[in-house]
């Protein structure tokens, strides 16, 4: 399991996952706002 506090490499991977998730959420929110 990924533990972002165990090493810098895992923290960096966690950052990438958070970034991807944030982009997906942002795109979804903006799409919904554009449609409705």
């Amino acid at each position: 399991m990924l533990n972002p506090l165990r090493s810098e490499a895992e923290a960096f991977r966690f950052l990438i996952y958070v970034l991807v998730t944030a982009v997906v959420i942002a795109v979804l929110v903006l799409l919904v706002r554009a449609v409705f």
Binding site: P4, E8, A22
Partner: protein
């Protein structure tokens, strides 16, 4: 610190690398290095501080249903977006610095850590500039207070990170780090990525959603 147990380890050794008998050494984790444990506990506590500020944001926006941003106010999304790219880049250069440290690439370490420091300082400069030009003050309304509170709290964490990175940069240029011993790069690196993760969440909440 005296060893209280039979077969206890000399100070500074990693207990998990040797056979030991009896209870673990007092005030020491048997699994996590002290420096890493210190940063781990610090980050966990800071996540809780951010949680408190996000709670205020939640109450204003969801519970009270106040408009976001407040009427007549506009948030500089594009500038903040550029700032986000700058901070994200700094995490990449930080990772580059650490990977360089692990592979004894001294130039990569020095260039990476210095670039991280400069990018972080640029982020903070742009953030302060944004405060000057945003057009509202923290005391104007609840939304403004939360905006300044959350972004300001994050900015304070960036400042702390820049302090850590300054020490690391100086030490990197003095040749303190090796492939075997680079904890002084790893621990600030973990903190810096935490700061970046928090910014992504702050940016998403404050500027985008």
């Amino acid at each position: 610190m005296e060893a209280a147990s039979i077969g206890a380890h000399p100070a500074g050794s990693a207990p998990h690398e040797e056979h030991h008998h009896g209870p673990p050494e007092a005030n020491r984790s048997s699994r996590v290095e002290p420096q890493l444990l210190g940063m781990l506990l610090f980050i966990i506590s800071e996540v809780m501080v951010f949680g408190a500020f996000f709670t205020a944001y939640f109450f204003i926006r969801v519970v009270a249903g106040d408009p976001w941003p407040a009427p007549g106010e506009e948030l500089p999304k594009i500038i903040a977006g550029v700032n986000t790219a700058i901070l994200l880049s700094s995490s990449f250069t930080m990772h580059w610095a650490l990977e360089s440290a692990k592979s004894e690439n001294r130039f990569g370490l020095q260039a990476g850590i210095l670039t991280t420091l400069l990018l972080g300082a640029t982020f903070l400069f742009i953030q302060i500039n944004e405060y000057v030009h945003v057009g509202f003050a923290p005391q104007d309304n609840a939304q403004a207070s939360v905006f300044y509170g959350l972004t300001g709290l994050h900015g304070a964490h960036v400042a702390v990170g820049l302090t850590l990175l300054s020490f690391t940069t100086i030490r990197a240029f003095r040749g303190h780090f090796t492939a075997a011993e680079h904890r002084g790069v790893e621990v600030p690196g973990i903190y810096w990525h935490f700061v970046d993760v928090m910014w992504i969440i702050v940016y998403l909440s404050i500027y985008i959603v």
